[in-house]
């Protein structure tokens, strides 16, 4: 394989929960989406828009009712492709409780790499690195049930990382974390993506978190309704508002000031851009006022 082709491809993907029952629900209603090798994609959308259902197709936990999903060219509907697909695609879910298997933190993280049949030294290296990057090294001898909710979520991420997947798929990984841990994990995911070339797909409700990604796909009613770089997507303020999604605070402030006539660039999404431009404008403004 190699190259930056589509690593994951969903075509005309339909999924129905409780098919044939009176409360049958069409969760995905024709999704077309490609995830390129090496990208960082954020999937955003309100509750019930189909984000979680979609990403569960990426490691063949769910298979399409209609349409097709391929991972590295492998069709997820073929049972004999599933082991290879699960090695390529690591998953982290919102609720970490269901993903913890070891009786100690260290053992839990070792579970995945041990299952790959790696040498003990290699397993240890991977575990140590995964614990270090998630900040859990000091807790490696604790039983997982003694960790806080946020620490458990970090543990789930460490466990997935230790397998060194090509794609890391995270379903609402940050929702139970405090703001500082959120930012640490986001920075970590960005570094993992940019420095180690791991493809990252993350679902979230938060535009603030989505701003960290290279590309954003917005879901509503079981379809992808918007797609593009964060700044492009944030520019469609009306559509986002209709979906009940909020722009990041920095983007909101930038927009409100632009409307009042301050000449800020249109693509501001983050704090540093906004603070930098405001400081620059202030120097100009003060200079002009002196003359």
């Amino acid at each position: 394989m190699g190259g930056r082709g589509a690593l994951i491809r969903a075509e005309g993907l339909v999924y129905v929960y409780g098919r044939g029952r009176p409360d049958e629900r069409r969760a995905l209603d024709g999704v077309d989406l490609e995830v390129s090798a090496g990208e960082f994609l954020a999937l955003v959308g309100p509750n019930g828009s189909g984000k979680s259902t979609l990403v569960r197709h990426f490691n063949a936990l769910l298979t399409p009712a209609a349409g097709r999903v391929t991972v590295a060219g492998l069709d997820t509907s073929c049972p004999h492709n599933v082991p290879e697909i699960r090695r390529l695609v690591g998953m982290v879910f919102q609720n970490p409780e269901n993903q913890i298997v070891g009786s100690l933190v260290e053992e839990d993280v070792a579970f995945g790499p041990e299952n790959l049949g790696l040498m003990p030294g290699e397993v240890k290296d991977r575990v140590d690195r995964a614990l270090a990057v998630t900040g859990l090294s000091a807790l490696k001898d604790r039983p997982p049930h003694l960790l806080s909710g946020g620490q458990k979520q970090l543990l789930a991420i460490a466990g997935a990382l230790a397998v060194r997947p090509s794609v890391l798929v995270l379903d609402e990984p940050l929702s139970m974390l405090d703001a500082v841990k959120k930012r640490e994990i986001l920075n970590f995911l960005r570094a993992l993506n940019q420095e180690e070339g791991v493809t990252v797909v993350m679902t979230t409700h938060s535009m603030e978190e989505a701003a960290a990604a290279g590309r954003v796909a917005v879901m509503a009613g079981g379809r992808v309704v918007l797609e593009g770089a964060p700044a492009e997507v944030f520019a469609k303020e009306g559509v986002l508002e209709e979906l009940g999604l909020e722009l990041p605070a920095a983007a909101k402030i930038a927009r409100a000031l632009s409307r009042r006539g301050l000449p800020l660039s249109p693509g501001i999404t983050g704090e540093d851009d906004l603070a930098g431009e405001l400081e620059g404008l202030w120097r100009l403004w003060r200079g002009a006022a002196r003359h």
Partner: protein, 290 residues
Amino acid sequence: MRRAVIEAEDLVYVYHPGTPFEVRALDGVNLRVMEGEVLAVVGASGSGKSTLVQHFNGTLLPSSGRVRVLGVDTRQKGAPARLWREVGLVFQQPEHQLFEETVLEDVAFGPKNLGLAPQKARERALWALEAVGLDPGEVAGLSPYSLSGGWRRLAAIAGVLALKPKVLVLDEPAAGLDPAGKRRIYRLLARLRREHGTAVVLVTHDLEGVLGLAGRVAVMARGRVTAWGEPGEVLSRAGELEAAGLEVPLTVRLLNRLVAAGVPVKAGALTVGEAVRQIAGAFGLEGGRG
């Protein structure tokens, strides 16, 4: 004068005392929850918030120190059984604890357990569903699993509310919900306090979300309460928040940076609207402050 409904005095809690896993999760907490108030308890992951609130309905009992709920020491014999009715505790992601066939049966489970007759329990359940803003006609007969995440959360809260507790304690009630779902939860809590005088204790990371809701904020770090006060006041104390591992709101950070760059704005704006007014004012734009 307002009464304290919950009082924690020098509360210490140690997980697994005397083992290598011993963790002093609470290290001398002093805190009061007053009648009819909304108190937000904020703190980084692992700061002891969840351990603290599990003392409020007797799920955990102090290793040392004391917790009194409605005047009764939680270690008193028979206290936990009573507390269970008076203090409703909504755990993190409570929607994972729904288990009955229909939403109505699930919400009626608690009242039935209290010994209410089936008809009474049903009435309570219908009342609680309405109180959380779900239409009983629409959802009562559905399977809890067919509800969306936000609605399932509301149904789970209704299950606790159906006990008509005097104090409602919620651990991260809005985490994982979209902005509309979050606002629905916060509006619900404000209404419960207003209309029923229910005291609400809210454990959360979402400092900005609880600004208009909580009357007081207690900041926890390393098993202690390190700061408390009105939300606006606490949120603008950047140093203390950072020391507790919490993030300072973007609006506060931004204005602090602008102050440092010599822009004449007043530091400490807590909302986007206030930040915009301050900056617009400094640049002499319309809609700025004066």
